[in-house]
């Protein structure tokens, strides 16, 4: 019984194929006729393409042959349009046999050609075909991508018919993706458009899709309604595939409703149609479905029968599927490789980029560091420069300050002097005034005495008055001397140093001092001793100033010895010695006397201004203080060594270079 069934089935299959071939044959006949009659190459190409299209679903080999022919002819005639057309046809062929990789190849080629040509006419087709392949490959993102592009083009061209297909395709894809909402959305749109356009071709499929969607959503009543509505629409256009799908859909619905009899009934109806065609995939699916149903019904014979059918179909399908699978695998592999390649290139690029960035960073950093170093160096330089300038200016300041200090010392000593001078001049002036006043009074008295005739008294008064006048003169001169001394003192600092022969200088001033003293006091006599270091030569000094110092010291020495002479007997020999000697970088001048010496009590006062041991009028008291200042100004020292009653030695130390 089983065998019989199978035999029948096989026969039916064969018959169907023949029938299909015949049907096709009729169409292709006319085309062939057309082919023979046409000499125009581009027209021939079109016809060939048409022939290819005619055989694509029934005899892919034939379709391939015609497509290749057309392509050859088109290329030979530089017929770009024809070429493109045939390439698309080739894509169709491969798509039909399930070689999706090749199909994509040709479809992409076709797309490229259409993109190059300025017209947009081929683009929607190109996109749509690609979307179909991707759908088959279950690469829904790409499918949607190209479908969108097709839709955009169709919208631009306002091709409603094409748009209808686009919208329908969207719905199909979303249904496959199990995105029921989106699927419904698009199927509604396409349904609406279909009604607008009064389309018949797609209506059935649209309604069928409704059914599938509702079935998926378990809206069984709506699904039933949709499938039932679809049947007459599909019958009208003789779309058996969709019709079979409708019956199958109904079977599935009844299965859900748990109405097995109805389910089986419609499933069988569907299978018959599927076998007739044959729609292999549907045969496999529906037979499997039926097998299950019968198992549930515990009708195992029938279940087994359909299972056999199913496995047989599967075998046939298997090869196709295998080929497809291999192709898919290849396709996937290629995709992966491409992705990998891209990834690798990107990786390498990013490495390169990183490297470049890194290198630039290093370069930048080092440039920065160098620049900073440079800046710092400049800064350091500038700082150094600044510091140098500062130091220089500080040095100048110091020098100025030093000069100022010396000046202020002078001024201070001058200030001291002023006080001293005030006091010093005060006294003589006092006397001048007082004695003048007294003299006037005396003269008045004298008048009286003259009138009285007391001539003795008058003479006494006259003597007094004369004495007063002498004192007035004396004190006047004294004041004059003090002022002169003060002026001298203030003038000492303005001297200019010049190289001076010390030997000559000392000699000269010594002689001066001696003769000056002798002029004042003819009885004066003292022994002069000199000891000069010939090697000294010249030293840098202000000759007038040092000369003054020497006069001062020598004068003092002479005074000391003369004072002693007054006290002592004739055996005493007053001696004053002056010597010069060079020690290292210094010159030492010594003025020694064997006079009265200096008592220790006044030793620390002798250099003070206005201090004098001489009776009033004989000395200003400025000599030693001035000498001290002068020597100090030369960068030297003025020292004294003395013994009371025996003598003194005044020592001047001067630097050779000053």
């Amino acid at each position: 019984m089983k065998n019989f069934y199978i035999r029948i089935l096989q026969l039916v299959l064969l018959l169907c194929t023949i029938a299909m071939a015949t049907a096709q044959h009729v169409e292709s006949d006319s085309l062939k006729k057309l082919l023979l009659s046409t000499g125009d190459p581009s027209k021939r190409v079109t016809v060939l393409e048409g022939l290819s299209y005619a055989y694509v679903s029934t005899s892919p080999d034939t379709a391939l042959y015609y497509a290749l022919e057309g392509l050859k002819l088109a290329r030979g005639n530089n017929d770009l349009n024809g070429e493109a057309l045939c390439i698309n046809a080739l894509g169709n062929v491969y798509f039909a046999v399930g070689d999706n990789v090749k199909a994509l190849e040709y479809y992409f080629q076709y797309l490229e050609m259409k993109e190059k040509s300025k017209s947009r006419s081929g683009l929607p087709v190109a996109y749509f075909n690609l979307a179909s392949v991707f759908t088959e490959e279950e690469d829904y993102p790409n499918a949607l991508k190209y479908l969108s592009k097709a839709r955009t083009e169709d919208e631009k061209a306002n091709d409603q018919g094409a748009l209808l297909f686009d919208l329908y395709s969207f719905a199909s894809i979303y249904l496959r993706m199990e995105k029921a909402d989106s699927a419904l959305y698009y199927i509604r749109q396409s349904h609406e458009l279909s009604r607008q356009l009064k389309d018949k071709n797609l209506m059935g499929a649209i309604l069928n899709t409704y059914g599938e969607i509702y079935l998926f959503l378990n809206h069984t009543d709506l699904a039933l309604k949709s499938f039932k509505e679809s049947i007459p629409a599909t019958e009208a256009v003789k779309d058996n595939e969709v019709l079979a799908s409708n019956y199958y859909g109904l079977a599935k619905v009844y299965q859900q409703k748990e109405m097995p009899d109805s389910s089986i009934f419609y499933a069988r109806k569907a299978l018959t149609l599927a076998v007739e065609a044959p729609f292999l995939k549907q045969v496999v699916e529906i037979s499997s479905f039926l097998s299950n149903e019968f198992s549930v019904q515990q009708q195992f014979d029938s279940a087994f029968h359909y299972l056999q059918l199913n496995s047989m179909m599967k075998d046939s399908l298997f090869n196709v599927e295998q080929v497809k699978k291999v192709h898919t695998l290849n396709f996937q592999e290629q995709q992966r490789q491409q992705t990998n390649e891209i990834a690798r290139i990107e990786y390498r690029n990013s490495i390169k980029l990183l490297f470049v960035i890194f290198a630039s960073a290093i370069f930048l950093i080092s440039a920065l560091v160098l620049w900073r170093n440079n800046i710092q160096k400049h800064k350091a330089n500038r700082l150094l420069q600044q510091q140098k300038e500062k130091i220089e200016s500080t040095l100048t300041e110091l020098k100025a300050t030093q000069a100022q200090l010396i000046q202020s010392e002078k001024m201070a000593s001058l200030g001291e002097l002023t006080a001293g001078i005030a006091h010093e001049i005060q006294n003589p002036l006092n006397f001048v005034n007082n004695f003048s006043e007294v003299s006037q009074e005396l003269l008045d008295e004298m008048k009286d005495e003259i009138e009285k005739g007391n001539y003795e008294e008058v003479e006494a008064i006259t003597n007094d008055v004369k004495q007063n006048l002498e004192k007035i003169l004396f004190h006047g001169k004294r004041a004059d001397g003090i002022v002169k001394g003060m002026l001298q003192h203030s003038r000492t600092s303005s001297g200019v140093k010049e190289p001076t022969e010390l030997h000559e200088l000392t000699d000269e001033y010594l002689r001066l001092a001696y003769h000056g003293l002798r002029a004042k006091d003819k009885s004066f006599n003292a022994t002069m001793k000199t000891d000069f270091d010939e090697s000294i030569g010249t030293i840098n000094i202000v000759p007038q100033d040092i000369g003054r110092v020497m006069i001062n010291l020598i004068t003092n020495a002479f005074y000391a010895v003369s004072e002693k002479k007054k006290q002592q007997s004739n055996e005493y020999e007053p001696t004053v010695s002056v010597s010069t000697i060079k020690v290292d970088d210094k010159v030492v001048i010594s003025v020694k006397d064997n006079g009265i010496g200096i008592p220790p009590k006044i030793l620390d006062k002798i250099f003070q201004p206005f201090f004098t041991t001489k009776p009033t009028g004989l000395g200003t008291g400025l000599g030693l203080s001035m000498s001290y200042d002068i020597v100090k100004a030369h960068g030297g020292e003025l020292k004294v060594e003395t013994k009371e009653g025996e003598g003194s030695e005044f020592i001047i130390v001067l630097p050779v270079q000053s």
Partner: protein, 125 residues
Amino acid sequence: MKILVVDDEKDIQTLFEQRFRKEIRIKSIEFAFAFSGEQALTYLEQNVHEVVIILSDINMPGMSGLELLAHIKQKYSIPPPSVMMITAYSDEENFNAAKRLGADEFLTKPIDFTLLKEKFKIKSA
């Protein structure tokens, strides 16, 4: 009235002798002169009871007038003789020092003899 004048300038003596010749003639004032602080002290040791006023210069070589003042005030406290300081310096330092040491008067040079005579009159009274 005996007045001791202490000053290193010897002409002071001549000046005073001429300025006070009338007083000296009628012996209302008798003057003694010392030319240093030491001389003054030596004189005072012998004549302290007679000396009523001591007139002293401040700036003197050796013992200064202020030192002398200190000595006098220390030694001769009962009764202390009047000590008047005369000086060309009218600065505060000297003034304060003199005051501190117990000077009775502080006079500046040049001496105003009229004023001096007034002061003497007060003292003698």
